[in-house]
C-alpha cells in the first residue's frame, strides 16, 4: 500500500513538473471537423499503442439503427499519454468507455479523442489530442 501511495505521489509530482504536451504540431483542421463533436460510448476492441498516434478501436451501438459501428479514435502519441498518466494497460480490451472528441472530415467512423472515461470506475483520461491550442 505504501509503495502504491508513494508511486502515486511520485507520478503526480512528475505530471505537475513535466506537464502535458498540448502544442498542435500537425493541422488538426485538415483532418477533423471541429463542428462535428462526438460523444461515443462503446466497448474497446483493439488498441494500437504506436507512434505517431495511438489508436483505440471501439464498437458503438447506433441508437437509431441498432447497428454496431466500429470506430477508430486517434489519441496522442505514447510519450504524451505516458506523461499524462496513462500506461499501455490503462484501458483494456473489452472495457466500456465513453470518448469525447471530434469527427473526421472524410465522414468515416474516425474521430480525434480529447478524453476517455472508463465507465467501470468513472476515471477520466486526457487523450493528448492535437486539437488543443490549434
Amino acid at each position: 500500500m505504501r509503495t502504491m501511495v508513494t508511486l502515486a505521489v511520485a507520478s503526480l509530482a512528475g505530471l505537475l513538473i513535466t506537464g502535458v504536451p498540448v502544442i498542435a504540431h500537425h493541422s488538426f483542421a485538415a483532418e477533423y471537423d471541429a463542428s462535428k463533436p462526438i460523444n461515443l460510448t462503446g466497448t474497446v476492441t483493439k488498441i494500437e499503442w504506436t507512434n505517431p498516434h495511438c489508436f483505440f478501436y471501439i464498437d458503438v451501438k447506433n441508437e437509431e439503427s441498432g447497428k454496431i459501428e466500429s470506430w477508430a479514435l486517434e489519441l496522442g502519441n505514447p510519450n504524451a499519454l505516458l506523461r499524462a498518466g496513462w500506461t499501455p494497460n490503462s484501458v483494456k480490451i473489452g472495457e466500456a468507455v465513453t470518448v469525447e472528441g471530434t469527427r473526421a472530415k472524410d465522414g468515416t467512423f474516425l474521430g480525434n479523442a480529447r478524453s476517455m472515461i472508463l465507465i467501470s470506475t468513472g476515471k477520466r483520461l486526457f487523450a493528448g489530442s492535437s486539437q488543443t491550442n490549434q
Partner: protein, 304 residues
C-alpha cells in the same frame, strides 16, 4: 580542479565527462532526492532525475541558479520543452508579440515560434503568397505529416522534446522525433566549403560570456519553418543566442537571416523549460502513420 574536497583531482576532460553530467550539479545543489525514488518501479517515463535543486517542500526549485560546467561556463544539460508562459518584463513586448500590454510581474501566454515575432514575419512577396496558400490548405502538405525529419529551428516549437549535452568539442542536441540528432561544433572548425544541405544545417558554436552563440548554414532548400507554412530556404543563416537564466529555463534568441524568403532578418525569442522526472523516449513516425492520406484542404485532399 577538485569537485569535492577529498575527491581525486579531475583534470582530464574525458574523466570530467565520466563523472557524469548530473554529478556536476551536485557541486552546487543540495542532494534532496525524491523520497519515493527507491520505490518507483523503474518506469523510465517517471524515473526521478538526480541532483535537482529542491525547495523545502520537496518541489523542484526551478528558479535556483543555473548549473555550471567544470570550466565555469553555464551548463545547458537537460531535457527541454518549449514554454509559452513568460514573465512580463518591461521589454517583453519588444521581444514577443503580445495581444495586449502585460502587467510587470504577471505571467502571460505568448504565441509559439515564428508567430511570436513582433510585427509579424518580413516575408518576401512570393513567400507570403506561399504561406498564405499553405495556410488556406490547412497545412495538408506539411512534410511533418508525412514523417519527414524536422528541420531546425522548427524542432524547437514542435511537441517533441530535446535533450542537450555538452561533450568535448561539441554541444549535442537529441530530439525524440525520429531520434534526430544535431551537432554544434565548438572545436573552432570553419564551415565546410561544400555543404550538402541537411535538415539541421551545419552549426558551429562559441561562448560569449554566459551566452552560447550558434551559427548555422546549409539548410535544405524548401523546408517549413512552422505549421503555417512559412518557408526557410538554403540561403538562410541562423544565429541562436542561448542563455540559462535559472535552473528551469533556457532562453533562445533565434535570428534568421534568409534574404531569399525574407526582406530582413527577424528574431524569435522563446523560452524552454526543463522536464524532470522523465526520460527521452523514441518516437518513430513511420511506425503507424495514418493521417497523411486523410488530410483535406478546401480544394480536396492528396492521394496517399
Amino acid at each position: 580542479m577538485r569537485i569535492f574536497k577529498g575527491w581525486p583531482m579531475v583534470t582530464n576532460r574525458v574523466e570530467q565527462f565520466r563523472m557524469g553530467v548530473w554529478a556536476r550539479g551536485a557541486v552546487v545543489f543540495s542532494l534532496l532526492v525524491v523520497t519515493s525514488s527507491a520505490q518507483v518501479l523503474g518506469q523510465w517515463v517517471m524515473y526521478p532525475t538526480q541532483n535537482i535543486p529542491r525547495l523545502a517542500d520537496g518541489q523542484p526549485d526551478l528558479k535556483a541558479p543555473a548549473p555550471r560546467q567544470p570550466d565555469g561556463k553555464p551548463d545547458f544539460i537537460g531535457f527541454w520543452q518549449p514554454d509559452r508562459m513568460r514573465d512580463c518584463t518591461p521589454d517583453l513586448a519588444s521581444r514577443v508579440r503580445l495581444t495586449q500590454p502585460c502587467t510587470p510581474g504577471e505571467r502571460v501566454a505568448v504565441p509559439n515560434g515564428p508567430g511570436s515575432v513582433p510585427g509579424g514575419l518580413p516575408l518576401q512577396p512570393w513567400a507570403a503568397e506561399l504561406a498564405k496558400q499553405r495556410t488556406a490548405d490547412l497545412s495538408k502538405d506539411d512534410p511533418h505529416n508525412r514523417c519527414q525529419p524536422d528541420n531546425y529551428p522548427r524542432v524547437y516549437w514542435l511537441p517533441h522534446y530535446t535533450k542537450i549535452f555538452h561533450v568535448p568539442g561539441e554541444l549535442l542536441m537529441l530530439n525524440e522525433w525520429n531520434a534526430q540528432f544535431r551537432q554544434i561544433y565548438t572545436d573552432g572548425r570553419p564551415f565546410p566549403e561544400l555543404m550538402h544541405p541537411i535538415y539541421s544545417g551545419y552549426s558551429i558554436g562559441k561562448w560569449e560570456g554566459n551566452t552560447f552563440v550558434i551559427t548555422t548554414k546549409g539548410f535544405r532548400e524548401s523546408e517549413w519553418l512552422d505549421t503555417a507554412g512559412n518557408p526557410i530556404t538554403g540561403a538562410a543563416t541562423m544565429t541562436e543566442r542561448i542563455t540559462r537564466p535559472n535552473f528551469g529555463t533556457l532562453n533562445l534568441a533565434i535570428t534568421i537571416d534568409d534574404p531569399k524568403a525574407y526582406t530582413k532578418p527577424f528574431t524569435i525569442d522563446m523560452n524552454m523549460k526543463i522536464m524532470i522526472d522523465t526520460q527521452m523516449i523514441e518516437e518513430f513516425c513511420l511506425e503507424n502513420e495514418r493521417d497523411s492520406s486523410r488530410l483535406f484542404g478546401p480544394g480536396g485532399g492528396n492521394k496517399p
